[in-house]
């Protein structure tokens, strides 16, 4: 390198000290104000009236019920959406069929539609004035303002998570492995469990973690269909809002801290999974096997 005399030049295009400091500074400041400060406030406010109030809020039957309902919703919505996601990704990436592009678009809809819209749509489908409402009412099945409605709305909002993680990965992997397994005599199930699943497991778990976080935190769609009945149809996010409107700020923040804790675990799980190669960073070594010299 003969460029010692030009040492003041940036090492790469656009990498001047001024640009670098300005950008990094801007991001740090915005991050602190937009993300870090509100999170800190949750912790501070939760304990602002002391440990006893925090404990009482958490131990209150309504809060307990809200936590249980949230967990229960996740226990149903997450497995169903996982099964849906795997099936959708499998059919889209391994088969050709009419309407494949349409299915891809449909899977994306919950991401682009506001959750409130989803909730309202459910009102029109299952509500008393809605499409199936009267029929369901005749049979004595209650969907809206009850637990089934909450689960349905949560499922709608989180439907794309697993599928979206799997589709790009499975597309990159192609059909060769499954064809190889079948040509060796493996059945469909055997192929799925012995060949497909091991190669998508990290991406699958990653999708499940994100899906779970969203189910537990979902507010918009659920608030429309739940009816906010304390101790009956209140999930944790709805409970927080209720407490806040009741001027129980400390209680609201205490409940919020539980959601924040769940978020923390989610992030830890997410980072751990990304280390295993899940997420948007693909593992090219396992996807393609380029030409190499034999040693």
């Amino acid at each position: 390198m003969g460029g010692m005399a030009r040492g003041k030049r940036p090492p790469r295009v656009g990498d001047g000290p001024l640009v670098r400091r300005l950008l990094i500074g801007l991001v740090l400041i915005l991050g602190a104000f937009l993300v870090l400060a509100p999170l800190l406030i949750i912790g501070v406010e939760a304990f602002s009236r002391g440990w006893a109030v925090f404990r009482d809020t958490i131990a209150h039957p309504d809060t307990q019920h809200a936590i249980l309902l949230t967990v229960f919703t996740a226990m149903i919505a997450v497995p169903v959406n996982t099964a849906f996601g795997v099936a959708a990704a499998w059919s889209i990436t391994k088969f050709d069929f009419w309407g494949k592009r349409f299915l891809l678009v449909v899977i994306e809809i919950p991401f682009s539609v506001s959750p409130i819209v989803a909730g309202v749509a459910y009102l029109f489908v299952y509500g008393l004035q809605g499409l199936f409402g009267p029929l369901l009412d005749d049979w004595g099945i209650k969907i809206l303002f009850a637990v089934p409605g909450i689960i349905l709305a949560s499922m709608f909002v989180t439907a794309p998570f697993v599928a979206r993680e799997l589709i790009p990965l499975m597309q990159a992997q192609g059909r060769d492995l499954e064809e190889a397994a079948t040509s060796l005599g493996a059945s469909g199930w055997r192929t799925f469990f012995s060949v497909t699943l091991p190669n998508i497991k990290w991406a699958l778990l990653y999708g499940v973690v994100l899906c779970n976080a969203r189910v537990m935190g979902e507010f918009g769609a659920v608030s429309v269909v739940s009816g906010n009945i304390r101790g009956q149809t209140n999930t944790l996010p709805l409970h927080i809002e209720l407490l806040y409107h009741d001027y129980q700020a400390a209680g609201a923040f205490a409940s919020a801290s539980i959601l924040a804790l769940i978020a923390l675990f989610t992030i830890i799980a997410k980072v751990a999974l990304e280390r295993q190669g899940a997420g948007r960073v693909r593992r090219p070594a396992l996807v393609t096997q380029p030409a190499e010299k034999a040693s």
């Binding site: 190889a180 079948t182 060796l184 005599g185 493996a186 096997q289």
Partner: protein, 339 residues
């Protein structure tokens, strides 16, 4: 196992990939399906395997109609172009997979013993515990072959077996595959777009174009007696000169050649680079040298005739030819096809 394709047809949407192909493959034969991309060779192989179903026609294994038998039960060994080794399994687990999932139950110890045998066959002893990502391309190719052989297939099918390997490895693996074939005597079909590979390895070469067989025969037959301009061009470098046939002779740019029995009219004359020679004096095709490409065993001369036709031919390494030299190209032998 004898294999017979009887008027097989395959169409993808509107693309007619395979059009009415009939082919007999003898038991124990090693056959190459050779053709440019889009000629339908891989589709034929996949139909024999059962990975695709034929739209029309029949595929027989022996006397048995196998057309509708799914790949799982067809009893073929398939080696994929990119090997399709299971990345989460070791080499030994990859080879054992077919035996583990088979409907025929095998003892664990029997499977382990067979894996050791197969690793020895493909000369990968001691690599059983490696993962596919930890071995070279040539080794992966051999693992893929061992895995395909593990289920005692009636037919071995290989899709571009050496396509993803570099030239030296390819050369060694070809010889090795030929040895394995002699040892096992299993009916083998492989697909390639590389004429040299097909001619080196196969007992019989089937040349395909646009989903149809254009010629088949032993390497000697197709090389010595190409029946169309396409086969002539596809099997190796060929020079083409516009020619006129008159009274049993073809005339092209000052050269003439006997073509007994051909009707008068326009024709194309094809000659291999080795079938042309260069001399300073006539008679011959007057030309000037554009460029010389030096190679380890010869010198390739690029020349242009007075009619503006480009020719390529080889001269001995010690021949002192130079660019811009003028002289005459002589024709040692050539083939003429009517247009």
């Amino acid at each position: 196992m004898k294999i017979r394709l009887d008027h097989v047809v395959k169409t993808f949407d509107t693309f007619r990939a395979v059009r009415d192909v009939s082919l007999d493959i003898e038991s124990g034969e090693l056959v190459a399906l050779l053709g440019p991309s889009g000629s339908g060779k891989t589709t034929i192989l996949r139909m024999v395997a059962g990975l695709e179903y034929a739209d029309g026609g029949h595929i027989y294994f022996g006397d048995h109609d196998a057309t509708g038998i799914p790949v799982r039960d067809r009893g073929v060994g398939f080696v994929f172009q990119h090997y399709a080794l299971f990345p989460h399994m070791t080499v030994a687990e990859n080879i054992a997979f077919g035996m583990k999932v088979s409907k025929v139950k095998r003892e664990k110890t029997a499977i382990a013993a067979r894996v050791v045998d197969l690793l020895r066959l493909v000369r990968l002893e001691g690599l059983g515990n490696r993962f596919p990502a930890q071995i070279s391309g040539g080794q992966r190719q051999r693992v893929a072959l061992a895995r395909a052989l593990s289920v005692d297939p009636k037919v071995l099918l290989l899709d571009e077996p050496f396509g993803a390997l570099d030239a030296n490895v390819r050369h060694d693996l070809r010889r090795w595959l030929r040895e394995i074939h002699r040892e096992l005597g299993i009916t083998t079909i492989f697909v390639t777009h590389d004429q040299e590979e097909a001619l080196d390895l196969a007992d019989r070469v089937v040349i395909l174009k646009d989903g149809q067989i254009v010629q088949q025969g032993t390497p000697e037959e197709v090389c010595r007696n190409p029946q169309s301009a396409f086969v002539m061009k596809f099997l190796g470098d060929a020079n083409m000169l516009q020619a006129q046939v008159r009274d049993g002779r073809a005339y092209a740019s000052g050269a003439a050649i006997e073509v007994g029995g051909m009707a008068d009219g326009k024709a194309e004359l094809y000659a291999r680079p080795a079938d042309l020679d260069w001399s300073a004096h006539g008679p011959g095709i007057a030309a000037s040298i554009d460029r010389i490409l030096d190679r380890p065993d010869s010198r390739r001369v690029l020349a242009t005739t007075e009619n503006g036709e480009h020719l390529e031919f080889d001269v001995e390494p010690e021949r002192p030819v130079r660019a811009n030299e003028r002289g005459f190209v002589t024709l040692r032998r050539a083939r003429v096809f009517a247009v």
